[in-house]
């Protein structure tokens, strides 16, 4: 067990000529809750997607739970087991029931027997408050319910770190709260979380640190009170003015 959850050093990422991440240095402590915001195209999604190597990087190092990510190595599979991810568009497997969605990865990658995987899945479905939907298919659920299933599915792998990539952006307004409440519960239980979101109330309520990105650079990071009430950077001031 390393003392830091995530250490990123000098991380650079290019899409062709486009410099998506510029010299990113970021250390995340265990149990820390971080909210990342910024204009679209600022690299915030790319940043969290490098942590489970959905995106590869061209320079720098990323260490997750003491394991250094090296392209294609066994380390990547190990890190992915310990890092859960929730997507904007849920990405549930549409041909599987809610329960099957939740038990697939634990059975295949953690080699957990079906009965045990199902018991774990039901426990987490209970926790995201949709135990009665276990036998349904994703298309039969509302967006908010689907996203809560996606959270439960990630939790079934017993991750140490959870990444959220704009988890409420694709939801109807009345469903945002149920997903945020689930995330707040998770934060209270001490999960290490990195959330890309524009839900500033959520950031104020649970974040230990808020990070503002622009053009691939971490422009400002601070505790929520200081971040929102006395932003130093001009671009952040403009950004906060626009979303308020």
């Amino acid at each position: 067990m390393s003392e830091h959850a995530i250490i990123m050093r000098g991380v650079n990422k290019y899409y062709g000529a486009f410099h998506a991440l510029v010299d990113i240095d970021l250390t995340v402590e265990r149990g820390e809750r971080i909210v990342i915001c910024g204009p679209s195209g600022s690299g915030k999604s790319t940043l969290i997607r490098t942590i489970n190597q959905l995106e590869t990087i061209q320079a720098g190092t990323i260490t997750v739970d003491g394991v250094e990510l090296t392209a294609g190595g066994e380390n990547v599979a190990k890190v992915r087991q310990d890092v859960g991810m929730v997507f904007q568009n849920f990405n549930l497997f549409p041909h599987m029931t809610v329960l099957e969605n939740c038990i697939l990865a634990p059975m295949k990658t953690r080699k957990i027997p079906r009965a045990e995987a199902e018991a774990t899945a039901r426990k987490f479905l209970e926790r995201v408050r949709i135990p009665e939907q276990a036998g349904k298919y994703p298309a039969q659920l509302s967006g908010g319910q689907q996203q809560r299933v996606a959270i439960a599915r990630a939790l079934c792998m017993k991750p140490r770190i959870m990444l959220f990539d704009e988890p409420t952006s694709a939801l109807d307004p009345e469903m945002v709260k149920e997903v945020l409440d689930t995330m707040i519960d998770l934060a209270r239980e001490g999960m290490t979380m990195l959330c890309v979101t524009h839900e500033m109330d959520f950031a104020r309520a649970v974040a230990d640190r808020v990070i503002f990105m622009d053009k691939g650079v971490i422009v400002e990071e601070n505790a929520p009170a200081a971040f929102f009430d006395s932003p130093r950077n001009e671009r952040l001031q403009n950004f906060l003015g626009q979303i308020a």
Binding site: A77, F87, N91, H95, L104, T109, A139
Partner: protein, 218 residues
Amino acid sequence: MIRVFSSADVLFIVMAVRWTLILSAIAFAGGALGGMAIALARTSQRKALRQFAAGFIQVFQGTPLLMQLFLVYFGLAVVGLPINPLLAAAVALTLHASAYLGEIWRGSIEAVPSGQTEAATALSLGYADRMRHVILPQAMRVATAPTVGFLVQLIKGTSLASIIGFTELTRAGQIVNNATFKPFLVFGTVAILYFALCWPLSLLARRMETRMRRAITR
């Protein structure tokens, strides 16, 4: 000597249907294996595999099936194997079906949204588990209708095997016609038999397509 077109001739033609079916079944089974390999290679991360599969598809889609039959048929002799029409037809049709099914299935695999691969990858599922449990089951729903549609093409395509002397349905018709000289009657019978094989499959393909459209718009 021209004899009359008798019930024995009809029976001879009908019995030849089994060779058309056997040849179609071999080509379809072989083509399914080959096509899956081609489709996976075509959607692989490795550039060399993708290029090989693309080249294979280009060659077999860009040349007539008849030439492929000739090349395999005479090619057997070139490599020192005895000339065997069934083997030659089976190999040529298998390669042909591999190319077409490979292309159909590549499209089906690519029709599965990339978020599915991402979610499976983020859950630490490896390539084999991802394909087997997440991508292919979804691609299959897209693929069934065009696959059955191609099977109809393949059954009709087996008629070309008559030219290298394999006695399937069309060749049986030619043999009977040479003796009876009743081409309209003989080949009419042959055509009706092809239709009887293909029409139910075409109906099935159309039904699958409708059902899938309904599933998507659900």
